[in-house]
C-alpha cells in the first residue's frame, strides 16, 4: 500500500511540476529570464522583508492555482508568464500594510485581479505582436492603492521603515552588521543609485538586494547586465545635463524603468548589436521625459508611476520598428525568442549566415550537366534596369570557346539543342513559339525574348526560359511542368547572337515583367575542377555550375518522419558497457522538425529537404548522444562526391560552461572572436553502382581569433536501411530508425 502511495505522490508531483517551475520563473520573468539562479536570488531578496516575501509568494501561488484551475496552458504557466505581474503587485502590499486578515484578503483579491488583467493584456497585445510587459502590475497596483485609502480595516505597517528589524529576523545580528557594513562602503553615487534601483524593482531599497540582483543578472546574461548599466548611466548623464536631481532616483520608483527598458530594447526584443545599444542610449532621455511627465500627471492622485514609462516606451518603439520598409538600420526584431540576449544573438547570427537567404521555393538550375554563366545579375550586356536579376547560361569547351569548328553554324555551339528543364514544378503560364533561330551573330530585337516559356510556381512567383529553339517546346499553356521532365531545347531565337539559355524569376506573368532577386536552392560551383556546394544563392558571372543530384540512399536514410522513433545504442568509453536510449522525431505547429531526447531533455532542430540535411539549433545538455549526432551531422549534402568539402558554422550558444564563451558574451553584440566551425568530406562507399554504405569524415573546431583551441573528429557511416554509425574519440553510437 505504502508503495502505491509513494507512486501516487510521485505522479502528483510530476503532474504538478509545472506549477513549481511557474512559481520560480515568475521571479526571473521580471527580467525576461528563465534562469534558475536569478530566480532563487530574487526570491531570497524578496524575503529580506519576510512579510513582503510571503505576500509575494502567496500572490504568485494564487495566480498560478487560478490559472491551473481555470484550465490555462501548462507550458505558459510553467514559464511564469501568469505569475510575475502578481508578484510585483503583492510584494509592496506585504511591505506597506500590517499583517492581518485584511492583508490576506487584499493579497488574494490583488492576485485575482492581476491574473485577469494579465490574461487580458497578454492576449490583446499578442494579437499585435507586442509584449504586455508589466501593464497588469501597474494598473492593478494603482487600483489597489487608490482603493485601500477607503478601507478602514487595513493599516500601514512599519516593515518598510525598519528594514533592519526584518533582516534581524532572518539572519540574526550578523546579517544586520553585514548590511550595515555594506551600506557604509564608499561607493560612487551613481553606482549606489544603480544598485538601489535594481533592488527597487522588488521594492527593496538596499545595497545587498541590489548586489544580489546584479549578480543574478550577470549569471543570467552578460549582455543584459551590460545593457542595464548602459541604460541607467545614460539616464544619469541626461539627468545631470538637463538639471534634474539624480538623488530623486534613490527614493522614487523610477530608476528601474531605465534598466528594464534598456534590457528589453537593447537585447531582448531586438537582437543585441551595436545599433541596438545605440538606440538604447537614444531612447533613455525619452524614458526620462515620460517618467518625469507622468510623475507630474499622477502627483494629485498620490500614485507613483511604477513601471509606466517602461511599459509605454518599449511597445511603442517595437511597433515603430515593425512598420519599417527596409531593415537597413541594423535593428532586427527577435523572431524566435530564446529567453536570453546571448542565445537570441547567437541563434540569429547563425541563422543570418546560414539560412537567411533561403527562399520558400528551392529552384534548381534549369539544365543538366555543367554550364557556365555568361551573364549574371546586373550583367553589362542586357541584364540591366528592371531585368537585372537574370542569368544567361552557355556551354564551353576545353579551350574556353563556346563552339567547335568555325562557329558559323548553330550546331557548332555546344549548348545548342541541349534540353532545358523546369527549375521547379509548376504550371505553364504561357508559351511563345514559332520565332526562327538567328544565324550566329545576328539578333532579333523585335521579338527580343525569342521562344519563351513562363512557368507559374506560386502566386507572384514565375520562372522564364528564353531564346528556345522553335518547335522544341514540349508543353502548352495550362500543362503541368515537372522538374524532371524536359521542357524545351536551347535555341538562338530572339535577341540572341549565339545560342544560350536566358533564365529569370519574376513576380508577374507577362513576358516583359521585371525580374526579382530570387536564389537557387542548391548548386555546385566548380573552381579549377573542385566543386563547392552553394546554398540559397545565385551563381555569378563566369561561374561553372551544375545541379546537385541527390543520392537515394542518403536521401532515404536522412529522411525522418514525425512520430518515428530512433533507437540509440552507444558506448560511452571504449571498454564501457553498451547502453541504449531512444529519441523521438516531432514536427511542431510551425513545421519545424526536431529530435527529442526525453532522457536528457534535449532537443535538436533539423531540416531535411530533397538535397540537404542540416541542423538549425540545439537545446539541452551537451554530454549526450543527441549532441554528438548534432555535431557530427550538422550539415550533410544528400549527394556523394569525394571532391566535395562542406563547411559551416555552429551556433555559439551550444558552447556552454567555457570561460571563453563567458568572455565572448560581454562583447558579442560588437565583435565575435569565438568561432565554432563544422567541416565534412566524403571518404568512400562500398559500391559505386549500388551503394549500401557511405563513409564520411566530419569535424567541429572551436577557434579563438582564428586559432584552433578544440577539435573533434567524427567518422560517420550512413547505411542503407536507416542506420547511422558515429565514432569519435572514445565515443561510439549507432542510430537505428524504428519503422
Amino acid at each position: 500500500m505504502k508503495n502505491r502511495d509513494d507512486i501516487y505522490l510521485l505522479k502528483q508531483f510530476r503532474n504538478n511540476k509545472y506549477l513549481g517551475e511557474g512559481l520560480l520563473y515568475s521571479y526571473s520573468q521580471v527580467f525576461f529570464s528563465d534562469n534558475l539562479i536569478l530566480s532563487v536570488l530574487i526570491l531570497l531578496v524578496t524575503f529580506m522583508v519576510p512579510q513582503s516575501g510571503i505576500a509575494g509568494l502567496a500572490g504568485v501561488s494564487v495566480s498560478l492555482l487560478l490559472a491551473k484551475w481555470m484550465g490555462f496552458d501548462k507550458g505558459t504557466i510553467s514559464r511564469g508568464v501568469y505569475g510575475y505581474n502578481t508578484l510585483l503587485v503583492t510584494l509592496p502590499l506585504g511591505l506597506f500594510f500590517k499583517a492581518g486578515w485584511a492583508l490576506v484578503i487584499i493579497v488574494l483579491l490583488a492576485s485575482v485581479l492581476t491574473f485577469f488583467l494579465t490574461v487580458f493584456f497578454r492576449n490583446k497585445m499578442l494579437k499585435s505582436g507586442l509584449p504586455f510587459l508589466s501593464w497588469p502590475f501597474v494598473i492593478s497596483l494603482w487600483i489597489i492603492m487608490l482603493a485601500v485609502k477607503r478601507f478602514a480595516s487595513i493599516e500601514f505597517g512599519d516593515q518598510s521603515l525598519f528594514e533592519l528589524n526584518g533582516l534581524y529576523g532572518i539572519g540574526g545580528i550578523n546579517l544586520v552588521h553585514g548590511v550595515d557594513w555594506l551600506n557604509r562602503i564608499p561607493l560612487p553615487q551613481g553606482l549606489r543609485t544603480y544598485l538601489i534601483s535594481l533592488g527597487a524593482v522588488f521594492f527593496q531599497y538596499n545595497l545587498l538586494a541590489g548586489l544580489a540582483i546584479a549578480a543574478g543578472l550577470v549569471i543570467y546574461s552578460r549582455i543584459a547586465f551590460l545593457l542595464s548599466l548602459t541604460g541607467f548611466f545614460t539616464a544619469c548623464l541626461f539627468y545631470s545635463a538637463i538639471g534634474l536631481d539624480i538623488n530623486t532616483l534613490d527614493y522614487s520608483y523610477i530608476g528601474f524603468n531605465y534598466i528594464l527598458t534598456a534590457i528589453a530594447i537593447g537585447g531582448f526584443f531586438l537582437i543585441p548589436t551595436t545599433f541596438s545599444f545605440f538606440w538604447t542610449i537614444v531612447i533613455m532621455p525619452v524614458v526620462t521625459l515620460l517618467a518625469v511627465g507622468m510623475e507630474q500627471l499622477l502627483a494629485p492622485t498620490g500614485l507613483s508611476v511604477y513601471a509606466l514609462p517602461f511599459n509605454l516606451v518599449v511597445p511603442v518603439f517595437l511597433y515603430v520598428i515593425r512598420q519599417r520598409k527596409s531593415r537597413s538600420s541594423g535593428l532586427f526584431p527577435v523572431v524566435i525568442q530564446h529567453n536570453s540576449p546571448e542565445r537570441n544573438l547567437y541563434a540569429w547570427s547563425n541563422y543570418q549566415n546560414r539560412l537567411s537567404r533561403k527562399a520558400s521555393m528551392l529552384f534548381r538550375l534549369p539544365f543538366m550537366g555543367k554550364w557556365k554563366v555568361s551573364q549574371g545579375y546586373n550583367g553589362k550586356l542586357t541584364h540591366q534596369a528592371d531585368w537585372r536579376f537574370a542569368w544567361d547560361f552557355i556551354k564551353v569547351g576545353a579551350d574556353g570557346k563556346t563552339y567547335q569548328g568555325n562557329g558559323f553554324n548553330l550546331s557548332d555551339y555546344f549548348c545548342y539543342s541541349l534540353p532545358v528543364y523546369p527549375a521547379a514544378d509548376g504550371v505553364v503560364d504561357s508559351v511563345s513559339d514559332g520565332i526562327p533561330d538567328n544565324e550566329p551573330g545576328d539578333a532579333n530585337v523585335r521579338q527580343n525574348w525569342g521562344n519563351t516559356v513562363i512557368l507559374k510556381h506560386a502566386d507572384g512567383l514565375y520562372s522564364k526560359y528564353s531564346h528556345l529553339k522553335p518547335g522544341s517546346i514540349r508543353l502548352k499553356q495550362g500543362d503541368s511542368a515537372v522538374a524532371s521532365r524536359e521542357l524545351a531545347l536551347v535555341g538562338n531565337s530572339g535577341r540572341s547572337p549565339e545560342p544560350h539559355l536566358h533564365f529569370q524569376i519574376q513576380a508577374e506573368p507577362d513576358i516583359d515583367a521585371a525580374t526579382i532577386e530570387y536564389p537557387f536552392g542548391y548548386f555546385l560551383r566548380y573552381n579549377n575542377g573542385t566543386p563547392s556546394l552553394i546554398a540559397y544563392s545565385g551563381p555569378n558571372e563566369n561561374d561553372l555550375v551544375c545541379n546537385l543530384n541527390a543520392d537515394q540512399l542518403l536521401r532515404r536514410t536522412l529522411h525522418f518522419i514525425p512520430g518515428q522513433k530512433i533507437r540509440v545504442d552507444y558506448l560511452e568509453s571504449p571498454d564501457g558497457k553498451l547502453m541504449q536510449s531512444e529519441w523521438e522525431v516531432h514536427t511542431d505547429y510551425f513545421n519545424n522538425s526536431y529530435f527529442f531526447d526525453r532522457q536528457s531533455n534535449s532537443t535538436a532542430w533539423f531540416v531535411s529537404d530533397d538535397q540537404q540535411f542540416y541542423f538549425t539549433y540545439y537545446e539541452g545538455p551537451k554530454d549526450n548522444q543527441l549532441f554528438t549526432f548534432f555535431s557530427a551531422c550538422f550539415r550533410v549534402p544528400l549527394m556523394f562526391d569525394k571532391e566535395l568539402i562542406i563547411t559551416d558554422q555552429l551556433p555559439l550558444s551550444v558552447i556552454t560552461g567555457s570561460w571563453l564563451r563567458w568572455l565572448q558574451d560581454w562583447m558579442a553584440p560588437f565583435y565575435l572572436f569565438l568561432h565554432y566551425a563544422f567541416a565534412l568530406e566524403f571518404l568512400n562507399t562500398d559500391d559505386t553502382l549500388d551503394p549500401s554504405v557511405y563513409m564520411l569524415k566530419t569535424s567541429t573546431k572551436q577557434s579563438v581569433f582564428h586559432k584552433n583551441i578544440q577539435e573533434t573528429e567524427f567518422q560517420v557511416e550512413i547505411n542503407r536501411g536507416g542506420k547511422i554509425r558515429i565514432n569519435s574519440s572514445g565515443k561510439s553510437l549507432c542510430l537505428t530508425t524504428i519503422k
Binding site: 515537372v482 541527390a550 537515394q552 559505386t688 553502382l689
Partner: protein, 449 residues
C-alpha cells in the same frame, strides 16, 4: 631565305575527277608539331617509326564526351574499352578521368586489376571467359555480361560454390536497322531469347541481375540505330521491372561510335558523315529520359566507346625509305612502317601528312610498308605530294586498335611515347628488342648452337 625545294618534273595525265566538297585541291596540311613537340626532334630522340599519343587530346576528348552525355542524362558512366588501347599509361589517363574498365578476356581483366581498378568498376564482356575468370570476376563483384546460354549455365553452376552472388548483365542483340546485324553476340531481343535468359537468371536465384548490355555494331554512323537500341533497351528494362519486379540498375549501350577516319570504299570523307558525340548522345538519352523511369532513380547509363575517344590522340610517325615508279607507271612510296604497325590500314584510308611544307603538286601513288609481303600496303591510291627519301611522314588518327592489334612480323615494335599535359614527351612503351622477342622461346638442348 630558304633554298627552294627541288622536285623532279613529272608528266601526268590530266584528270579532273569529281570535285568533292572541298574541290580538288591536293594540298595536305603538314603536321610539323604534335602538342608543340617538333616531329623531327621526336624522331631523333625516339627513333622512327614512332607512336605518339597526346594526353591532352585524350583528356579533352574524354571530358567532352562525358559532358555531352551528362548534359542530357543525370547518371552517366564511361567504361574504358581495354581492347582499343590497353597500354597502361592510356588506361590510367581514362581511369583518372573517372572511367571504369571494360574488358573482354581474362588477360585484360588481370590488366585492369593490375592498374588498380576496383573490381566493382570492371565490366567483363566477351564470349570467351574461362571458369577461373568467371570465379575471379564474381568474387571481385565485377559485372559479368553473359553472352550465351552456355555461359549462363556455367555461371549458375559455379555460383553454387561462390560465396558472393555474381553480379550479371545480359548482352542483347536486336534489330536496329543496321546491316550486317550483329547477332553473333548475346541474346536476341525480338525472338524472346533475352527475356528467356532473364527468366532463367531470376529463377536460378543464384545470380544478381543488375544490368542490360547491348553493342549494336562498330563504326556505326547512323544515330537512328542507337535511338532504336535505346528505345528497346528502356522498354526491356521496364518490362523486366513490370514482370518480375526487378529494378535494372544500369543500361550499358556499348560503343561503336565512329571516328573521323574514312572507311575504305566510303564515298564521302568521314568528317562529313561521322556524327558528333552530341548526336549520339541525343539519340541514346532521348528515349531513356522519356521511357518513364522513376526520375529520382534513373538507371545508370554506361558507355563503352573506345575508338571515338582515343583515335584522334594517336599519331604514327615514320620515314620514307624510298620512292619508286611501278611498271604500270604509277608512283610508289615505301615507308618504314606498314600494316604491321598500322593494322587499321586494312579498314581505313589513312591520311598521310608531310612534316614539312610541300607544294600543291601531287601525284597518285601507292604507299607500301617495309614488309616483304604483298599485303603490306597502307594506301592503294592516294594523291601524295612529291616525297623524297628520308622525308618524315605523320599518320593521324591512329590511337585506336593499332597499339593492340599490331603485329610483331618481320620487324619489332617501336617506341610509344605520350606527350604529357606539361608538353613533355614520356616514353610509355619501350621499343622491343631481340631479347624481348626471344625471352619466351625455349630451344631444346640438342638444337642449341
Amino acid at each position: 631565305m630558304n633554298k627552294k625545294l627541288f622536285e623532279p618534273p613529272v608528266i601526268k595525265r590530266m584528270h579532273t575527277g569529281m570535285p568533292g566538297k572541298n574541290g580538288t585541291s591536293g594540298i595536305i596540311e603538314p603536321i610539323s608539331h604534335i602538342d608543340n613537340n617538333s616531329v623531327s626532334t621526336l624522331i631523333s630522340l625516339f627513333g622512327s617509326p614512332l607512336f605518339v599519343l597526346s594526353e591532352k587530346t585524350i583528356r579533352e576528348t574524354c571530358r567532352k564526351a562525358v559532358d555531352t552525355f551528362q548534359s542530357r542524362y543525370p547518371k552517366v558512366q564511361f567504361g574504358w574499352s581495354y581492347k582499343t588501347n590497353y597500354l597502361d599509361a592510356v588506361c590510367q589517363v581514362f581511369h583518372q578521368e573517372g572511367s571504369w574498365a571494360e574488358v573482354v578476356s581474362g588477360f585484360e581483366y588481370d590488366k585492369a586489376i593490375r592498374n588498380g581498378v576496383d573490381g566493382r568498376e570492371i565490366i567483363f564482356n566477351g564470349p570467351d571467359k574461362s571458369e577461373e575468370d568467371l570465379i575471379k570476376a564474381a568474387n571481385n563483384h565485377s559485372y559479368i555480361h553473359i553472352d550465351h546460354f552456355d555461359e549462363l549455365y556455367t555461371l549458375i553452376r559455379l555460383a553454387e560454390n561462390i560465396e558472393v552472388k555474381p553480379r550479371v548483365a545480359i548482352r542483347i542483340n536486336m534489330e536496329t536497322g543496321l546491316f550486317p546485324k550483329w547477332d553473333r553476340f548475346g541474346f536476341n531481343y525480338e525472338n524472346g531469347e533475352a527475356l528467356e535468359a532473364v527468366r532463367k537468371i531470376l529463377a536460378s536465384g543464384k545470380l544478381d541481375l543488375v544490368g542490360l548490355h547491348t553493342h549494336i555494331g562498330t563504326y556505326v554512323t547512323s544515330t537512328s540505330a542507337y535511338r532504336i537500341a535505346a528505345e528497346k533497351m528502356a522498354a526491356f528494362a521496364m518490362e523486366i521491372q513490370g514482370k518480375f519486379d526487378k529494378r535494372i540498375l544500369y543500361l550499358d549501350m556499348g560503343g561503336g561510335f565512329a571516328s573521323l577516319n574514312t572507311l575504305k570504299g566510303a564515298y564521302h570523307n568521314a568528317a562529313d558523315t561521322t556524327p558528333g558525340f552530341d548526336q549520339y548522345a541525343e539519340a541514346i538519352t532521348g528515349p531513356l529520359i522519356r521511357a518513364g523511369f522513376d526520375p529520382d532513380n534513373m538507371p545508370l547509363l554506361i558507355l563503352e566507346t573506345g575508338r571515338a575517344l582515343i583515335d584522334d590522340a594517336g599519331f604514327l610517325v615514320g620515314t620514307v625509305l624510298a620512292t619508286k615508279r611501278l611498271a604500270d607507271g604509277r608512283k610508289a612510296m615505301i615507308l618504314d612502317f606498314g600494316v604491321n604497325l598500322l593494322f587499321t590500314a586494312f579498314w581505313y584510308d589513312h591520311m598521310i601528312h608531310p612534316v614539312r611544307e610541300m607544294t600543291g603538286t601531287t601525284e597518285d601513288a601507292v604507299v607500301y610498308g617495309p614488309l616483304c609481303m604483298n599485303i603490306d600496303m597502307i594506301r592503294d591510291q592516294m594523291k601524295l605530294p612529291l616525297f623524297q627519301k628520308d622525308d618524315h611522314v605523320v599518320v593521324s588518327r591512329t590511337g585506336a586498335y593499332n597499339m593492340t592489334q599490331w603485329l610483331q612480323f618481320i620487324t619489332l615494335r617501336p617506341n610509344v611515347i605520350m606527350i604529357g599535359m606539361d608538353g613533355k614527351p614520356n616514353l610509355i612503351r619501350k621499343a622491343e628488342t631481340l631479347d624481348s622477342l626471344v625471352q619466351n622461346e625455349i630451344t631444346p638442348d640438342h638444337l642449341l648452337p
